[in-house]
């Protein structure tokens, strides 16, 4: 089951540990023929931007996905982050549970997608208390 991805000019992505950039002035189509970690530029969170509890969780899952060799280490970080989050915001436990389920079955991409929802919830909850004056 191949996956077709269109890359805009200059757009980057990670495919199985390699970083690719579309160097041509036009869009290009890539067909990924086997199962390998794939992350598009828009889905990548850099360390500098991992500034909130849920964003950190996203960052940790992203590391599990692109660097599975160090899974044990990332699991440890992940659990610290998740434990703190669930203590701070218990209502996230349902979403966290689904994310865990995906991670357990090594479906990191769906896990990341769900974590985006977690980040949205966090943004909403935090904005509520800071009167929506500042975004994160």
């Amino acid at each position: 089951m191949a996956l077709r991805i269109t890359l805009k000019p200059g757009e980057r992505m990670i495919i199985g540990g390699a970083v690719l950039t579309n160097g041509s002035p036009s869009s290009c189509d890539l067909v990924i023929e086997n199962r390998t970690p794939i992350l598009r530029q828009k889905d990548i969170l850099t360390e500098e931007k991992a500034t909130s509890p849920c964003r950190r969780i996203y960052y940790a899952i992203q590391l599990m996905y692109i660097d599975e060799n160090n899974l044990a280490m990332y699991h440890k970080i992940y659990w610290e982050l998740v434990k703190d989050l669930v203590h701070a915001a218990p209502s996230t436990v349902g979403l966290i549970d689904s994310i865990n389920e995906h991670i357990l079955q090594r479906r990191y991409y769906p896990a990341l997608k769900l974590t985006k929802k977690l980040i949205e919830y966090e943004k909403e909850a935090v904005e509520r208390v800071s009167n929506g004056a500042e975004g994160i």
Binding site: I66, V82, D84, V86, V93, D97, S130
Partner: protein, 277 residues
């Protein structure tokens, strides 16, 4: 004697009702004190209650899976212990054979007999390496399936291997080490090389087991994390209030920003990849 109905005045009735209410409040407080939870029944806060119950049930289901994983770990460890013991026995058999090479015919015959005794012990060891009826050294038809989630969609299958001398490890019964009065070096050397390849085979199987063991252990730890989080979440659910959660998360954010960032633990490889974005 017929019972007379008791007539209550309005004031008395009000007193009774308030007394009943106080009683139920008291009961609730006691329950809270006993369980440490704000919500105890579906009547207190239905949504929070049922969600909390669902999370706790799931934690229970996962505990069951975790127990199965612990059992699987024992089975794999039993097999690995068997392999280690067989390795020791092979080393013993090898030294017997090596000694026979430079021995006189009488000693060589004795050594050959000892070799066969050790060989029998290897078979016994291979047959005894099971845990609760599953022996991974019992042949390729033996298999162990470890389910990681409640549905069993995520699982790991471990196939056994044949640890017996005759069919699995190909260590033949020693014979003809001595013909007449001469020690047959070539026969003994054949036995030694058979032992060496058996050892190689065991090394391969052992590393397979170690690999499987680390997968199960990682899953076990992950499942424990899931159980803890579900329990924590269920316990805290009753406090679910978006304003409070927002404030808590903001506080956590500040705390994390001040703390030494555990995120910089990303491996060099991962960092060099992410730095490009």
């Amino acid at each position: 004697m017929a019972m007379q109905p008791i007539t209550l005045t309005g004031g008395m009735r009000a007193n009774l009702v308030s007394l009943q209410n106080t009683n139920s409040l008291l009961e609730l407080t006691q329950k809270k004190l006993a369980t440490g939870k704000k919500v105890n029944s579906a009547l207190d806060d239905p949504v929070a209650y049922f969600t909390a119950v669902a999370h706790e049930q799931r934690a229970g289901d996962l505990s069951g899976r975790k127990d199965e994983m612990s059992e699987a770990v024992q089975t794999v460890k039993a097999a690995d212990a068997g392999i280690q013991s067989i390795n020791t026995l092979i080393a013993a058999a090898r030294s017997l054979a090596t000694s026979a090479l430079s021995a006189d015919s009488t000693t060589a015959t004795t050594l050959m007999n000892q070799f066969n005794t050790v060989r029998t012990q290897i078979d016994e060891m291979a047959a005894d390496s099971g845990y609760k009826g599953v022996n991974l050294l019992g042949g390729t038809s033996v298999s162990l399936t470890i389910k990681f989630d409640e549905t069993g969609a995520s699982k790991l299958g471990i196939t056994g291997f044949d640890g017996s001398t005759t069919t699995g490890l190909s260590i033949s019964l020693a014979s003809g080490w001595v013909s007449g009065t001469t020690v047959s070096a070539s026969t003994i050397e054949t036995a030694i090389s058979a032992l060496d390849s058996a050892k190689d085979k065991l090394r391969t199987e052992s590393s397979k087991l170690a690999n499987n063991l680390s997968i199960i252990t990682a899953r076990q730890e992950f499942t424990q994390g899931m159980i803890n989080v579900l329990k924590d979440g269920a316990a805290g659910l009753t406090n679910a209030d978006m304003n409070e959660e927002g404030a808590n998360m903001l506080m956590l954010q500040t705390r994390q920003a001040l703390g030494t960032t555990s995120l910089s633990l990303a491996s060099q490889a991962a960092q060099s990849v992410l730095r490009l974005f």
